[in-house]
Structures are given as C-alpha cells and as structure tokens.
Subunit: 395 residues, 2 copies
C-alpha cells in the first residue's frame, strides 16, 4: 500500500523522527490531527509551541549553520538504513504493530511526572534489523525484563521463561541489557524461537557493546528495533522513553528480578497502565535483587508468576494456554472419604481395638465406625483381628 | 467472676469438651441457644441428633460398661489439669480470648467440605499450661506457620519473623510442629518474647515428642494450649480442627513455606474467611517448599510480606506499625530535575561541546540547555571549558 500519499506520510514521519525525540505528546497530537506531512510543515514553520519549534530548529541545524531540508533528512535516513540492511517501518506499512497506538491513552498526568511519564506518545517510526515482520513478531509476544545486576537465580529463571515462551511460539521481547534481558534473549534463541531487542539507540550501535555477540545473533535470527534513527546514542533518559514500547508492543510484561529502583519496574507500570498483564517473579526475601519484584507484588494489580504456564494463563486466550494446577502427591489416605479417614486414624498398628473403642477414639458414633471399618478392610487399610481391628501392614 | 451459675457453666463446658470432638456445630449451636448446662443435659439425654447422642454415648462409656457421670468427668479433668499445673479456661473466665467467637461465622457450606471445614465452631474450653493470660497473649498476636519439611531458607525467614515480632511485643502463635513452627517459636523465645503453641492433643503430651525441649521452654516462658482434654492423642484430623484456633486467635496468619498440599494453607484459608490478614512469604520459584506460598499469593486476597514491618502494616493499627518504604540508593544524578538530567546525559567526559551541540544531542531546546548548564556547573557535574562544556571529574 505505497501510494504517493502514504509514501509522503512515511517520509514525513521519518523526518519527524529525526527532528524530535520520540514520545512527544504535542507532536503526536498534531500528527493525529493534521497528518504527518502537515505536522512536519508546522514544526519547521509555525503554529507549534516555542519548545517544540526550538527543539526542531536545533536538530535541523545540528552543528552546521544552515537548517537541513526535512525531506532530505528522511531520505538520508532511508539511505543509511538501506546501507545497514535495516528498514524503517511506519503506520503506513502493513507490518506496523497497531497495538502501539494504545500508548495514546497514557495520560501525562496519570503518573508521578518527570521524564518517566513525560514522553509516552506512540512511536512515529521504527527502525528494524531482522527478517520477521513486526506485527507478527509482536502479535504474540511477552516482555521478559529485569535487573542488569541479576543473580544466578534470576538468570536461571529468565532462561527458563525465555526458553519456554519461545518454545511455545511466543516472541520474547526485552531490552538487550546485561543480566535478565540477556538471559531471556539468549534462551529464546536457544529454543529456536523469535526474540526482539527494543533498543534505546540506533540499530547500528546496539548498546551495551559487551553484548555484541548477542546482537549479531539477533540480526540473523531475531529482531533489533528502535524508534531512534541510526546513529542515535544511548542517552540515559532514552531507556525510560523506550520502555513504553516494550510495554505496549507485548501482551504482558514479566519482571524477573528488580532492585528497589529499576527501569524494569517502570516498564511494568506502563504495561499496567496500558491494560497489559503486569507480572513479577518472586524470589528469596533475603535477596535485594528480588526486592523490586516483591514491592510490585504487594500491589493487587501485579500477578505473581512462577513458570511459563502461569504467564500464558495471563496473556493467552482463555482455554488456549491455561496453567495446569500444581501437581500434588496423592496418598492412599487422601482418597478416603472424610469419615473413613477419621476412623482410620483411630486404628492402631500393634493393638487390636473394638469398633466401639475405635469410635470413641475417633470421635465418631459407633454406627459410623461400624459402617466404615468393612470398607477400610476391603481397601487393605485395616485388618480384622480377634473380634476387633488393627492397622494392616502396608506394602 | 466465679458465681455458682458461671461455675456450673464452666463445668458443663469442660464435660462437653470431654464428650464431643471440638468444633461440633450442632453442639455449639445448642450451647449458644440454651446454655452449657442445659446443653449437657440434652446431649446425655435426648433432643439432639442421633449422630451427636451416639457420639457422646460412646465417649461416656469408653472401654468401660457404665456411662460416666458428666460432672464427674469434668471434675476429673480439672483434677488432672491441677496435677499437671495446667488450667482450663472457658468463656466464663476473664482471660477467655473473645475473638474465638468469630468462628461462629465460618459457614459449614462455605468451604470445600470434608473434615477440613466440618468442625469450625468455637472452642468450648481451652487447656492451658504457662503463666500468661490467654486474652493478653492472643490480643496482639500473629500466627507464623508453615512446612514441617522446611528448607534452610524457610527456617531462616521464620526465625527472622519470629524474633522481630516478639521483639516488638507481639505474641508468636504456631502449632509446635517441626520446621517453620519450631523456628518461629524458638526465635520468639530467643527475643525474650511471648510465644504460644496451639496443640492438636492434650497439653500433657505435646506432639511431636522430638520437640520436647521446645515444649519445656514453652511451659516456662510461653504457652501450651489445646482444646482437647489432657491425655488426648494427636490424631491426624485433629490438626485440621486445631488450625481454626490458630487462625481465629491471631490478627493474621503468615505462611512462611508450604508445599502444594499443606495444613498451613488451610490455616491461611480460615484466617482469610475470618477476616484476618492472610499473608505469605515468597521464595525461589525453583523451591517446592515455596510452591504453596506462591499458589496462595496468586490469589488477590493473600498479601505478600517480606519482613516484620510489612506484617505489622497488615495487622497493626494504622499509624502504629507502618512499614517504611524499602530504602533505595540515591545517586547525585537522581537529585537533578528531569530536564537537567537529560542535559547532563549529553555532556561528554573528554570532549568539549557548545550549549547548542548539547541541546541537539539531548533533544532539548538551546534555551533549555543554556538555562540548565550553569546549574550543572554549580552542582559540580559539568565544567566550563574553551567556550563550551565537558563533564566534571567526580570525586
């Protein structure tokens, strides 16, 4: 569906992505009102706030002296993407994941303020490296996120979850960071499944550099995506802006380990506000790396999950991926009706008791005892002995 | 307040405790309707169900041939208690813990049926060994219960909780079993606090025998209590009947470790149905000993707790025992306003940038950058250099 109009809209969105930091609500509102092309004209001309106009002007000029032509910026971005083997996906493209539009509902006033909740508008464009179409990859996906300073326990659990989700055909989405993110990505790759790293910088400079071998595998077998143009640096505030995409793209977010202060908790909070499943894995209360998970789980709107089946129960369709009840050991005793079990408790191993004595000891009536005992004899629990009963030898 | 009438009621309740298993709803309803003395006449005469009459008849006769005189039974129980240094407490006594009356509200039909929920009526009498008055001991108490097959982790946590609760003047109530119960009791004793074991057998034969040294300390420094007469054996079904007293006597129940199947979970369920706080401690999802806790925590009506403060937040009065927020490390960066933090992220350590370059990199307006930078210089974050700015060396 690349008509001349939609191609113009695509170019305008790409240009706007080069001129304004992602998530800008004023810009997003304008784009929704007048369309991308007209919005681009306004931000480079007039009719927007001083803040937005100044911000765009600085970006257009950069370190040069003449403002760049916005269409030239977009074409440059497309050329650069092509050289990288990347593509730029916008809402005009078939593979655009429509659920990102839910971000419109995140109110600026709803949160604690500050940069954390300032930039929550949907992305205008997404740079992608990797073969899988975005809509398919994100359509059945779960975010597995957590602490960089993960413990062995957290790494183990993230690996189990990443592997199990990928094995069942779910895309594992995370942030490409050390620790929990890396364990989840790597496990999904091991399962031969799909996994996507949503970056807070250009897809040509995935961060952290120490994860380069992981990023190279993601290029071949998974996805590297970002709403920042190629070349963008991983500034600190960008991780918080990025997190909303992880929350919005997926059906739910699982935090595996998180300290008291944590970006993963911000992602979880955004998932919750977006109506996605907010989940956390518990851990030892003696572990600081689980303290953030436990704080989240003390809220009523975070669901505790311990395995893949429980995650899928949250995010899957009813009847599709239901968690089986935890199996518990069945003992022969447990199959008895309550009365018989009570009677059986009063039968002794080494001493013979009459039905009346058993009734008295069990606290049941003699009639109840006399009714139960033959049943217990038939079941092999009790042996008749010298006109009374004693416990049968088991095994 | 030992009038002739109340002494008669006391004796009747004690006699009834010797003749009927605790928790019997028919008997409890009768006692509430006509008083203990008249109820005793009826169960030994007529006007009750065949089940109840037969049950009482069996107990009166026991292994002898002549039905015992109920008053003689009560006097015998009192004499036996006196020989033990125990006392028998009934609702006629000042130290009776009135909150046990809440058990009336537990509907027989409300639960899954079977012995678990069959016998939920309030106790008629409680045998007590230990000095502390029952009402004072239970008035400010928390139940700490859990698996016999506790892990090192569970034992550690139960010890921390038992110690901390006792240290703050809360009575630690548990069941005297191996594992979590023992750790909680022992820790409370270590803290010099009060702890009570609610037994499922006579206070003269506390179970398990392997815990005898603990029970001896509880006699001296804590409480051993039971609704069964001295001499009663620890039949299996009695533990489930007993659990309702642990749930009802305390302001809340904390399960520290529990497998999928667990008596501690039954106690928790009863606490919940009684409107007490139902709490559980999480653990590693890889530990079977925490599986029951996690199943409980996946319900919305179980509160996750990780420490004593969080327990007291649940059971304490508002403003009295509030948990402090988990402290998180503050970094200098965190004290900056959002805009300044964003600007700071664009300042490089080794290269000088102009305010305009910093603004472009940070995605803010030049005006915003020029306003923030002097503030960052003053704060020691940024150093002016050759007409621009670079990151200040810290420390």
């Amino acid at each position: 569906m690349t008509t001349v109009d939609s191609e113009g809209a695509r170019l305008a969105r790409i240009a706007l992505s080069c001129l304004v930091e992602p998530g800008d609500r004023e810009l997003g509102t304008l784009v929704r009102a007048v369309g991308p092309a007209a919005a681009l004209e306004r931000v480079t001309g007039g009719g927007v706030s001083e803040r937005l106009r100044d911000s765009v002007a600085v970006r257009r000029t950069g370190t040069g002296s003449v403002p760049a032509d916005p269409v030239r910026l977009a074409e440059g971005a497309l050329e650069r993407a092509e050289r990288l083997g990347a593509r730029i996906v916008t809402p005009e493209d078939d593979e655009w994941p429509g659920q990102l539009g839910d971000l419109v509902a995140l109110s600026r006033e709803g949160g604690p303020g500050g940069p954390v909740d300032r930039d929550t508008d949907p992305p205008l464009a997404i740079w992608v490296r990797g073969a899988a179409p975005l809509d398919e990859a994100f359509g059945r996906s779960v975010a597995v996120v957590g602490a960089r300073a993960a413990t062995g326990y957290g790494t183990h659990v993230a690996t189990e979850l990443g592997y199990g989700l990928a094995e069942r055909g779910w895309t594992v989405v995370s942030g490409g960071a050390f620790g929990i993110d890396t364990a989840a990505h790597r496990a999904a790759l091991s399962a031969g499944g799909l996994t996507a790293a949503v970056l807070a910088c250009g897809v040509d400079r995935p961060y952290p550099v120490g994860n380069m071998s992981l990023f190279e595998r993601l290029l071949d077998e998974g996805l590297l995506v970002s709403e920042w143009p190629a070349g963008a640096a991983p500034h600190r505030h960008r991780f918080l802006i990025r997190n909303r995409v992880i929350a919005a793209a997926t059906r739910g977010t699982v935090v595996v380990e998180a300290a008291g202060r944590s970006g993963a908790r911000q992602t979880l909070g955004r998932a919750r506000r977006l109506g996605r499943s907010a989940m956390a894995v518990p851990g030892p209360v003696t572990s600081h790396a689980s303290a953030g998970c436990h704080e989240e789980l003390r809220r009523l709107d975070t669901r505790l999950v311990t395995n893949v089946a429980e995650i899928l129960e949250e995010v899957g369709r009813i009847g599709d991926d239901l968690a089986p009840a935890t199996p518990t050991a069945q003992r022969p005793h447990d199959r008895l009706d309550p009365l018989s079990a009570q009677v059986l408790d009063a039968v002794l191993p080494g001493r013979t008791r009459t039905a009346e004595e058993i009734a008295a000891a069990a606290g049941v009536t003699a009639r109840e005892a006399r009714r139960s005992l033959p049943f217990l004899v038939n079941g092999g629990f009790v042996a008749p002995h010298e006109g009374g009963y004693r416990l049968a030898r088991l095994g």
